[in-house]
Amino acid sequence: MAQDMEQLYQQRLKRYVTAMRNEKPDRVPIRPFVAEFTAKYAGYTCQEVTHDYRLAFEAAVRCAEDFDWDAVVANMVYVWTGLTQAIGLKYYATPGLEIDVNTGFQYREPPEDEAFMQPEDYEALIEDPTGFLFNVWLPRVSTEVVETGSPCTYRNNLSFLKGGMAMLSYFGAFGPQTQRLRTECGTVSAIAGIFKAPFDILADKLRGYLGLTMDLFERPDKVMAACEALMPHLLHVALSGADPEKNVPIGFWMHRGCVPFINRQQWARFYWPTLKPIIEEIWRHGHQVLFYAEGKWLPHLDAFLELPEGSIVFHVDQDDVFEVHRKIGHKFAISGGIPNFLLAYETPDKVRAFCKRLIDEVARDGGYIADASAIMQNEISIENMRVMTESIRDYGVY
């Protein structure tokens, strides 16, 4: 049995990797990014899988056992709120606390005047990003950590101790979870490592979207210098978590560079010049990057074509997957594009018809990995997930 499971794993790994290299495997690989869907399927609340990662791992395995999927993320409910609570992070709404037990965790961006980084902080960030994060940013995002220079507190000390130990516990559990997916389900762990663009980091966690858009006009040189200062660190973090076997890609979660958050001139001046060199450097190390392109990125596809062939896998969210394929499919593999609305609320016949069209037009020459447009939460229909899986399996044989 173990031998059969290993054979199944190797078969799926080859299928998944071949498609990501923009080549034609034996059939279309299925790699759904299922988050709170796993809780719904396994009978847990969102609170349970978010606050106890062991339950989230269990739910992921349950889905991998029951659905014929080639690859999954070891835990797509990636924010363990036990860890964020230990550190005291204040920007999450936690299921069972601020929101209903059956609502997925939420990120809460503060008002512009309460941004975690203020305009006058740019110099400190540019001078030493790591020091800035520890000394300035962390006390502002945590209910427990006190400002540097303030009297130390019991809770401050516990935040670092518990936070550090909890992070080791959580990250240390991913190895056994990945192995469990392999040996019990024959399923590949879909990504390894994390990357975000310098501009996105400024917008997401530091200045906030509103603050940053004002900075683009009022202090553009500071924005550029901050992005440059973040580049080597974001590269380092991406490479330090990458797959040593160089099979699966580094996950790149793309946020604020898309249309219409910033205009094309801002994208060309700030976002792309500080992103492209990092992707090229990661590729020089032999790793692909999964561009998880949340939102609409069609206006930027020509820029992505400047990247080396095969260096990325482009995941389609709100763009038209057929148009994306026509524009960049000759150079990069594509994933996603199956609308979440379709999987949540439409009929099985419509799901089946869409999957068939997808295979006919996008996957016909290989280079396509089946997935929904966005991360799947608990609104997704279990029946439609079965239909999607069966449709890709039935139609997607080369």
């Binding site: 550190i87 790591t130 060309a268 792309w272």
Partner: protein, 58 residues
Amino acid sequence: MESIPIKTPRPKPGVCIEWDEKRKDLPDIRGDEDLFRRIWEDNEALAYLYIWQVLLSF
């Protein structure tokens, strides 16, 4: 717009406090300095990982 070169900052990525700075706190090293440096940087990497993962993943 041309691509921006990736700089090598100080402290270098992967550490919070460079070994060269820590070394100033220590008496003359009688043994293997490379061993001290390696283990210092291994532990520094954990602190570095902590803050950057909080920023990126959580």
